[in-house]
């Protein structure tokens, strides 16, 4: 436990100091935090529960639009803000901006949670591929529908309120970094807390054999919905922050970005090792670093490079980075290894 504390404390200190040590990387670090949140929360469904959800992007996009709409709507008429591609200009005072953002983030987290609860009841009844396809459709549909809603800018996009003129050039980056970092800390603590309870065992039971779990008297639906609501809460929060950070929301390219974010969150969790607490964190970090690197080194070919990376991972690390480490150094993961038993297995092969 003691060692754990040191680990968490050092990561926390690193996180708090990062924007000052690497001021040029604030935006990338903020995005990294968002990516980690998405990967960690996706892992609740995809990793622990065995439900491959492509629909978590729905909550992310919803959070993004909601946060921006609340931030604008609290002080100005939203319809006029977005009319004709945002032709009219309104300026938030610093107080208005931060109040709006705070309220926006609350709404961005709460509403998707409720939505997850409502749609979860029907959608989580599906299993396997049917669930995956259905959730895939959710994201796509949300993108197309939001692209037709005039009040949030429709196809013209939604320019979020510009950061007020306080605290100099670095203030904006620092503000969004700390927003995303605290959201990440909150998400991680929450997920870690629920993983240390019976809840995780139930999720695992659902993954391993849902019918048996039900036969044992577990109300699987209840836990599936709660799990999804937790994911939705943090996806919405992450979306709200990301909207402010990007400054411009487009229905299919930024908000309901299933082709990128929606796939990335799955990829990152698998890369790091799904079904582990740290796997998605490591996966997201490695993924982000590689992606940024590829963008510089293989201009125009970055997706090819990324594709090769994915192929390599699938072939050589099918269990993800954490899974691979676990197999290689089981004792480090607190697993007891009986050498004689291991040898016997090897010989059997």
């Amino acid at each position: 436990m003691n060692k754990n504390l040191i680990l968490y404390a050092s990561i926390l200190v690193f996180g708090l100091a990062a924007p000052f040590i690497f001021p040029a990387f604030k935006v990338q670090l903020s995005i990294l935090c968002v990516l980690i949140i998405l990967a960690v929360t996706w892992n609740i469904q995809g990793g622990e529960m065995g439900y491959n959800s492509f629909g978590n992007i729905l909550f992310y996009g919803l959070g993004m639009y909601l946060c921006a709409s609340v931030q604008v709507g609290m002080f100005f008429p939203l319809a006029e803000w977005t009319e004709s591609g945002g032709e009219k200009t309104f300026v938030h005072t610093p107080t208005q901006f931060f109040q709006g953002m705070a309220a926006g983030l609350v709404v961005a987290a709460v509403v998707p949670t409720i939505v997850a609860g409502l749609i979860g009841y029907s959608i989580l009844g599906l299993r396997g591929h049917y669930f995956a396809i259905c959730t895939l459709g959710l994201g796509v549909a949300a993108g197309e529908i939001s692209g037709g809603i005039e009040i949030i800018g429709a196809g013209q996009g939604f320019t979020t309120p510009p950061f007020p003129n306080v605290g100099g050039l670095e203030a904006r980056g620092e503000f969004f970094y700390f927003c995303s970092f605290f959201a990440l800390v909150l998400a991680f603590i929450t997920v870690r807390a629920i993983y240390s309870t019976r809840f995780k065992l139930i999720l695992n039971a659902i993954r391993d054999n849902e019918d048996k779990a039900e036969a044992m008297g577990i109300e699987t639906m209840k836990y599936k919905i709660i799990g999804w609501m937790v994911s939705a809460f943090f996806c919405g929060l992450a979306g709200g922050i990301m909207g402010g950070l990007v400054g411009y929301i487009d229905s299919t390219d930024v908000a309901f970005d299933g082709r990128e974010m929606g796939v990335f969150m799955v990829l990152m969790a698998i890369l790091g090792g799904k079904g582990t607490l740290w796997g998605p964190v490591i996966g997201a970090t490695v993924f982000h670093i590689f992606k940024e690197g590829f963008w510089t080194l293989f201009l125009g070919w970055q997706y090819v490079a990324l594709g090769v990376l994915i192929v390599v991972i699938v072939i050589y690390f099918p269990e993800g980075i954490m899974g691979w480490l676990r197999e290689k150094y089981p004792e480090r993961f607190g697993e007891v290894v009986d050498e004689a038993d291991r040898k016997a297995q090897v010989e059997l092969k």
Partner: protein
């Protein structure tokens, strides 16, 4: 718990990686002026992104080989750092940050498309980085009070304004019935706003008003309606894919409409790709090679087109021409400012008043170019099936007479 060690070492590895990659080269290194640009090299705007990049490169080579930029008695050469924004606004905003805060770029060139420019402009504005952009035409870009954004092109709402007015004129001044379909993106929706304004002013009626998806491969539903309702004008806008899809399906479905007005015909190389099927299409363009503007670097449109053809193997669409013009504007501004101070360069940009092969350039306080009208060309084919774009409006530049109405498919 040895796992902690793994994670700790991982965290420190990330930290080391980050700190080792903090490289910052300033905008002016030795004799180079480094400009930054996020360009769509992949994704849905990739073909136009490449047109943009070719335009930039062409101008950089030309300016550098003709003596470069003279500031403070010294000669500098242009260099551009490119990143691929994947046609994604989120990525574009991120890259603008990266160019400015990590690569130390102090002057930017614009990306392709209005949506991406909308995402980048707040960033450049925040850092006070002057950006000359050539491909973000959305009207709302110029009402935000941006001080560091300059666009060499005419705003999007003017693109097809001329087409509607011409149709009304040919209709004896009476309003026409318009069918329109626009992609769900910032630029096309702005073109739509322009049509709405023109329709209102001319008393025209909009009978079909459809939205098209971003990955535009099918617009049959709209065309079925067009067949039924027989409008006087059909307006379609959706970047390159929109133009290609419209022509392909209009030909397949034999849709008869007296006037077909579009955008991005030249970027889509319509006359080459669809040959006679694209005949009579009316296209809005920022530039055409037959226009008689002149400058010292590219001489005129025809020479530019010939040089471009030699270098890249295709006829330059206006996206390339306007991108080249952006560099000419930058060069001019640097020399007039005689400094690399961002504020001074910005003021020099604001005072720009010049002619380039692409057109006159003079910026309104909002940043848009107010000194260059749009032109309208029509795809015209000869008997052998060789098609060419000919300017038909405004009359001052016209090299051919507008063919109206478009003959029915049964008579072609």
């Amino acid at each position: 718990m040895k796992i902690n060690k793994i994670i700790l070492s991982f965290v420190s590895a990330v930290a080391i990686l980050l700190s080792s990659s903090v490289v910052s080269f300033a905008k002016v290194v030795g004799d180079k002026i480094v400009l930054g640009a996020a360009i769509s090299l992949t994704g849905k705007y990739s073909s136009n992104g490449v047109h943009t990049q070719n335009g930039y490169n062409m101008a950089v080579d030309r300016i550098n080989s003709m003596g470069g930029v003279k500031v403070g008695g010294k000669t500098y050469k242009f260099e551009i750092i490119y990143y691929d924004d994947e046609s994604n606004p989120k990525r574009a905003a991120q890259l603008a940050e990266r160019l400015i805060s990590q690569d130390g770029v102090e002057f930017m060139l614009g990306p392709y498309s209005s949506g991406l420019t909308k995402a980048i402009a707040p960033v450049t504005e925040k850092y006070g980085v002057p950006m000359v952009e050539a491909n973000g035409a959305s009207r709302s870009l110029f009402t935000k009070g941006y001080k560091y954004l300059f666009a060499v092109l005419a705003p999007a709402n003017l693109y097809l304004d001329v087409a509607i007015r011409t149709a009304v004129e040919l209709n004896g001044g009476k309003g026409v019935r318009i069918a329109q379909a626009f992609e769900q993106d910032a630029f096309s929706q702005d073109v739509r706003l322009g049509i709405l304004d023109a329709a209102k002013e001319t008393g025209s009626e909009i009978i079909i008003d459809d939205k098209l998806p971003k990955e535009l491969n099918d617009m049959a539903a709209t065309l079925v309606k067009v067949k039924q309702m027989k409008p006087d004008v059909l307006v379609v806008s959706g970047h390159t894919k929109g133009a290609l899809t419209a022509i392909r399906q209009i030909a397949e479905m034999k849709v008869d409409v007296p006037m077909l007005a579009m955008t991005h015909c030249d970027a889509a190389k319509l006359s080459k790709q669809h040959g006679k099927n694209s005949q009579y299409a009316l296209c809005a363009s920022q530039w055409h090679k037959t226009l008689t503007y002149k400058d010292n670097f590219f001489k005129d449109g025809m020479t530019y087109a010939a040089d471009f053809q030699k270098e890249f193997g295709y006829d330059p669409p206006y996206q390339s021409a306007e991108s080249s013009a952006a560099l000419l504007v930058f060069k001019d501004a640097f020399e007039r400012a005689n400094s690399f101070d961002q504020k001074k360069v910005r003021d020099a940009l604001a005072a720009t008043n010049m002619q380039t092969f692409y057109g006159n350039i003079k910026f309104a306080p909002g940043g848009q170019n107010v000194d260059k009208p749009m032109v309208l060309f029509q795809v015209m084919c000869d008997g052998a099936g060789k098609c060419e774009n000919k300017v038909v409006a405004p009359l001052k530049w016209a090299s051919a007479k507008l063919i109206h109405p478009i003959p029915k498919w049964s008579d072609r």
